[in-house]
Amino acid sequence: MGRLTDNIKLDTTEMRAAYCEALIDEAKKNKNIVVVDADVSHSVGTEPFYREFPERSINCGIMEAHAIGMSAGMSETGLVPFFHAFGVFATRRAFDQIFLSCAYQKLNVKIIGADPGVTAATNGGTHMPFEDIGLMRLVPGAVIIEPADVTMYKSAVSYMANNYGVHYLRTSRRKTMRIYEDGAEFVIGKANKLADGKDVCIIASGIMVYEALKAADILSEKGISARVLDMHTIKPLDTEAVQAAAKECGAIVTAENHNVTGGLGSAVCEALSEGTPVPAERVGVKESFGEVGTQDFLQKRFGLTADGIVAAALKCISRK
């Protein structure tokens, strides 16, 4: 399991650099890995792969639908394509291609959606996916991963490279808070317990993991013991961890950089209602489109903050 670093602070390594390094490591072991881009290789950070493996790098230009379909066709011949685009275009724009060209025919395509939610920042509403997890959850068999920091890539990319199927990874491409110590390893499909507690459990993914840890500290000052789970795999959801949290904490707060409809909060609440129904509150975007701003501004704008999680936790505990 991944262990917390002693000193959580903004990383010196960009997420995209860590991703590409992990992908190159896998590609050195597996000659079938290919990179497919749709004119954002510079943005998503795959350029080092092009230098290392030019014969295995394909930039299609601005044609996500074709790029996804072509990736599916390549996988039929044994290749393992990793397709990259901004999350909105990687999923929403090419949804039918993901659904029918990839998943319906059980082909082997890896989809990387950059700039999830508010991390799209000043690219604004057109580029800000609050719905990508919801869409991908509807694709039968798809795996959905959202890493919290750079250390998680090794496990995530290794899983994607070595397991067959349609996998979606949503990720910020810039520097993010370093949560885990070097060498931390993760099991895809198993939540990572970052703090134990008995009064409430905060289940978070991506950038919200850091906010969840801060919220737990604030709650601790109020005498409330909060468990924190990094639910880096949204599908398949670690329902065992959710049921255990429900039984042992009796109140659940989810925190996601996504619409609360269809995302992590929905997935957790579905698991709770079918297993151990306890009060739950969902922190996330509610019935809104994205807009421009810094990530900090947008996190406050949409309530994606430690304070937002604390408020939700207090409300949730009061409903016990």
Partner: protein, 278 residues
Amino acid sequence: MDKKTTMKAAADIRKLCIEELAAAGYGHIGGSMSICDILAVLYTDILDIDPKNPKKPDRDYLVLSKGHCGPALYATLAYKGYFDKEQLKTLNQGGTSLPSHCDRLKTTGIDISTGSLGQGLSLGTGVAMGKKIQGIPGRVFVIVGDGELQEGQNWEAVQFIAHKGLSNIVIIVDNNRRQLDGYTKDICQTFDYKAKFESFGLHTFVADGHNVTDIYDKLTTAIKTGPAAVIMNTEKGHGCKFSEIPGFNHYMVISKEMADEAIAEVDRRLEASYGQID
């Protein structure tokens, strides 16, 4: 190629397809009939395939992007021995291995699932790229409908094929000039497809899609020239009177009596064609 043999194959495929659709009682007769001669040439004279080893990696691939015409391809696969001809009578029945639209997971010999129009060409392009990157022999033939070319994704794929100079893929357009709601010219203006493909940088040929010799000549030339498209001029519903109507023939109810009459018609026409060759 032996013209008579391929013409006989086309007639046999057409008859199997009519029987198959009649067993279901209905189906996509128009677009299925228009591609029977093209399929006969591909499966008799062009494709490097082995019905006993349908997944051999170095095979030629056939992607029927206009997936609703699966019944014609199923008839062809049964004719080639991929599965028993009796199986054709299960078309569209619950639990069948022959669903209305092509499904690679259900039907032996189907390389790629299709049905959402506009996606097959990208899938075929991916197979061609995969073969090229890994040095795997074999070519890819993708059949698209002329109505289907209204889907923009096709033109993304054509740009890509031209830019990469992909020479192991051939686009085949079933130019039957009609789509579900009527004539393409009335729904969204038809284009000079030859000029359009050429403007993208593809070598483009035009064939009579019901003349097996012309189909064979243009396909074999296209394979040698590099990125290529062949426009097959066809008639929707071609081959039997009941489906060669100017009205709606995309999808028709087909009785046993209609099928029997149509099959006799196919035989009569084949005999007449032999006479013209002789």
